[in-house]
Subunit: 157 residues, 2 copies
């Protein structure tokens, strides 16, 4: 006979059932945090949560329960888009970052070109014979490709 | 008496029930795409999907169904982290972008300082009296704050 937990976990208390010692949900939904279970149950349902956790090795279940709670929280907060809104916003910010990086690289290249022209003008005035050709080729700029990162998981409604 | 849809939607077909004309799920889970419903049902459950859609105004239900399908797909693909993995990756990329932008700004400031020093040295050699003080102050740099964007929704496991 399987004995029960002396204190029912948040899940079993919510579902008004006894909480066995081997309750799958008890380690991740303690009685001290009833809102956590209420939130995930509202979005996923107790049956689905149990099924999803049972299908995972024990050492991965805590991470799974945490991520399900995070997702459920975002869906409760935004019933239309859930966590997809955050993903879209972050993808947008990455594209903005790409734009900033490209703009800064452009400013730098322009500045170098201006300086090179200025130097050449000075050389003409003062009759010096500097080698300025290396300045632009020495600047490698930032070749960081954000577009690929943003596209990897783009939500296409 | 409510008449039935001549062709059951994917949800009602999956659940082996008749599909009424006012079926909540039919507009978003057509019979032509049975995998779409199977996926969301596996993660959220038909009852939760119906409940969540019914609680939304009709003009928002398509977006909600699409985002639920996207989330469910990610959770099926990654049963431990679901869409939270994507969120963490994007937040990491944003922090990398911040680092690149700061590095580029530093390179630019350094280059300007070098140019200014070079100009001053030339002025000493050639006895000119250029005003070079404006060069650094003219460069405003990129003040884009990525840290705030990454922190707005950080997943803290």
């Amino acid at each position: 006979m399987i004995s029960n937990n002396p204190t029912r976990c948040a899940a079993c208390r919510f579902l008004r059932r006894r909480c066995p010692q081997d309750c799958v949900l008890a380690p991740y939904f303690p009685s001290s945090n009833p809102e956590r279970f209420a939130c995930v149950h509202k979005i996923f349902g107790a049956g689905n949560i149990t099924k999803m956790l049972e299908q995972l090795p024990v050492h991965l279940r805590e991470a799974a329960a945490d991520s399900m709670f995070y997702e459920a929280s975002l869906r409760v907060e935004d019933p239309v888009y859930g966590c997809v809104r955050i993903i879209s916003q972050l993808q947008h910010h990455i594209l903005e970052a790409q734009s900033e990086i490209l703009k800064t690289n452009g400013q730098v290249a322009s500045y170098i070109a201006q300086q090179q022209l200025h130097q050449q003008q000075q050389n003409v005035v003062h009759g010096a014979s500097y080698q300025q050709d290396m300045q632009i080729s020495e600047y490698s700029g930032v070749g960081w490709d954000v577009q690929t990162l943003a596209n990897d998981s783009y939500f296409h409604p």
